[in-house]
């Protein structure tokens, strides 16, 4: 394997690690714009910030 290949693989794994770490720390992102840990309600969507 060339140096380039190794660099690319390392970079990719760093990115995967970051994504997983972020999920773990901030909660799972949700289709409606928030993360599950932000508001403690499972998903930071309309349940917390939509307001009539």
């Amino acid at each position: 394997m060339s140096v380039g290949s190794i660099a690319v693989v390392v970079l990719l794994f760093a990115l995967v690690g970051f994504a997983l770490w972020r999920n773990f720390k901030k909660g799972t992102p949700c289709s409606c714009g928030g993360s599950s840990k932000e508001c403690g309600c499972g998903c930071c969507c309309s349940c917390c910030d939509e307001e009539a």
């Binding site: 060339s2 799972t28 949700c30 499972g42 349940c47 307001e51």
Partner: protein, 833 residues
Amino acid sequence: MKIALAGNPNSGKTTLFNDLTGSSQYVGNWPGVTVEKKDGVLSGHKDVIIQDLPGIYSLSPYSLEEVVARNYLVNEKPDAILNIVDGSNLERNLYLTTQLLELGLPMIVAVNMIDIVRKNGDKIDLERLSKALGCPVIEISALKGEGTREAAELVLSVAGKGVKEDGPHVFSGSVEHALAHIEESLHGAVEKATSRWAAIKVFERDVKAIDMLNVPHDIIEHVEEHIKDCEKEMEDDAESIITTQRYEYIQRIIGSVFKRSLRRTSATLSDKIDRIVTHRILALPIFILSLCAMWWLAVAEGGPGTKLTDWANDGFLGDGWHLPFTAHECRADGLYKGMEFEDAKGEFAKQEASKSKWEEAYLEKINEGKPDGEKVEKMPEKIDEAIAKTIIAKGVFVEDEETGEPVAKEDNEDEPDLWDVDYAAYQKATEYEEPDPSAFGVWVPGIGALIGDGLEKLGVNDTVKSLVVDGAWGGVATVLGFVPIICLVFLFLSFLEDCGYMARVALIMDRIFRRFGLSGKSFIPMIVGKGCGVPAVMAARTIESERDRRMTIILATFIPCGAKTVIIAMFAAVFFRDMWYVAPLMDVIGIAIIVLGGIALKKSKAFAGEAAPFMMELPAYHMPTWRGVMIHTWNRVKGYMFKAGCIIFPACVLLWFVMHFDFKFNLLEDEQIAESMLATMGGWIAWLFAPLGFGTWQGAAASVSAEIAKEQATATLGLVAAGMDGASTAAHVSNLFASMSSFPKLAAMSFMVFNLFVPPCMVAIAVTFREMGSKAWGWFAVAFQLFVGYTLALSVYQLGMLIAGGGFGVWTAIAILVDLWCLWMIVRPGRSE
């Protein structure tokens, strides 16, 4: 310091909250689904926290939002209340104000929408209002940012200070008399500041409030006599006396503070619109039409959605694109001179096809009669002119990139565009080179092309290249490619919600839902569910009846959510380009499942019973602000981008590994993928999907991985189909389904239906379990959803095949039997109560 924002739904609290805290929470125009409060820091004052409470009409204990707001105000005691009232609807709004004033907390009243009041020509005498209520009053326009700073300063000036003893004189003599007695008895049992509020609650016999305040039982018994006397005198029950007298009081003060303009024509346009959209015959068609309009915008052939998606897939994320307005015909001399880029690409494809077909024919000719070992595989350097001149490749055609089918002639004939290639044409074809896009305008390379080039330059080996390009990037790009469609769907939904139409839909749906014992209120979670199933399940919390709430939770996620929109978009683009109605049909099927499933569930013992009564304020229609719609849309779209990065991306990398290694951790060649871990594991369960038409390891892997997040289904399909023939992901997927079933369109439809209507993603399932409050109910919901999804996919595929001429098999019989059983569950006589 804590400042609580309290007010009626739709009074502009969140607009004020955003203005004061500089945040961008979503502001809607429909009665809410909010059951929790939201905190923010007042900009310019780090130590001041603004708390936005759910919109409420009163502090009575009959709805969850009201209990949440009330418990917060009584238990947490904010330093001040900022009561925001809608100036254009003062009478209704002041009802809550009279209740808030009794809490004994420092408070100011901000009369909002003062701009509308002025436009109507009405006048509000703030000084008199302030005097009558006994608290400072200020006029603001939260939308225009007028007076909001002053309101914040004003509330800070009263915060933490004492409150005047005598509040407004709301009640009549005999009620005040009874209240005075109660207050006296409560002396020592409750805090002095809240004693008036406590007295009123005791008078109303509000059990929840009495429990919360820990009022001793003997006091209650002692004062009961006074309450009864008062009730006898007024000939009504205590609680109604209080309510009626509040309104009487408000009407008294309104007379002196509010000068109604004569030229006022209140809400007539709104009423006119309502006569049409809630018309007894037109209502439903208008609703379905608006769904069709939304989907047309998003996925119709030639509509803005498909154009943007094509650009995102092929241009921005793919090879590249020409900057708008710079594209021109080729000016450089050469074979493409005078052509547009698209035509040049078509021409190149045609020449390539001619070349390869002719070469095939030539090789066949020179190999004629030779034994297997001596056959020439590659084109020789030197072509035998004599033989070449006799060769004419017949019936050459260009394959369509998307479908893999021959491209039809432009002039409306159904015959494929076939032509013959002789030696001269072949020689000409060899001169063509791939058109250079930069000769046709300013060319911006796509991200996919940049990654490919970058890896090329780094000298990365093929395996790593496949990992990055097919695995990581491929999956993420498949999901990101649908962002334009998501944007359009949410833009449209946000518009419908913000203008006030969705509240009417709840009313329209009420009469349908009532048939199976749910009220229109249950439709609110389903509207929310169009965005995301998780808040939909949460929104069911506001439904008081346990039975209705459980049923709503089970049914709400059948509405295709935003993530499922991605699946619909992919299949609409790959298989149903000429069937515009497929996408809106999925929403209609979702609603139909809710109705029919509801009817069937209702006939079981657990759900039998009448629907709860339905009442809901219908906000006046108004033109949504661009800003509001944009914020709403962006908040939701942002979620997709994050999801693509944080969930889809790692999942795709993992999938690439299980797809390219076998169980002995040997790296596999592309041709050996069928021996990979993914293929093996998929194979174990593939038989489950065989009756549905996609019983291969690829179909199984895509369906199972969709439980991570529904859009993963498209990413996984893109990944497992990468080895198929074709130039684009669409062609790969199309060919994948062709390899699964002899009725690829039916298999595709079945796959789509299955993934839309089986249980939602893991997060939504987890929330379902939590909100159900019991494992048994959680499992029941999942089992019900699995049954519905599987049955629907089975029916689509088996009955579709029967109609399309696929013959009658065991599974056709099973599908018909299951459908008949479902039909029986729906039409059988219900339980009598």
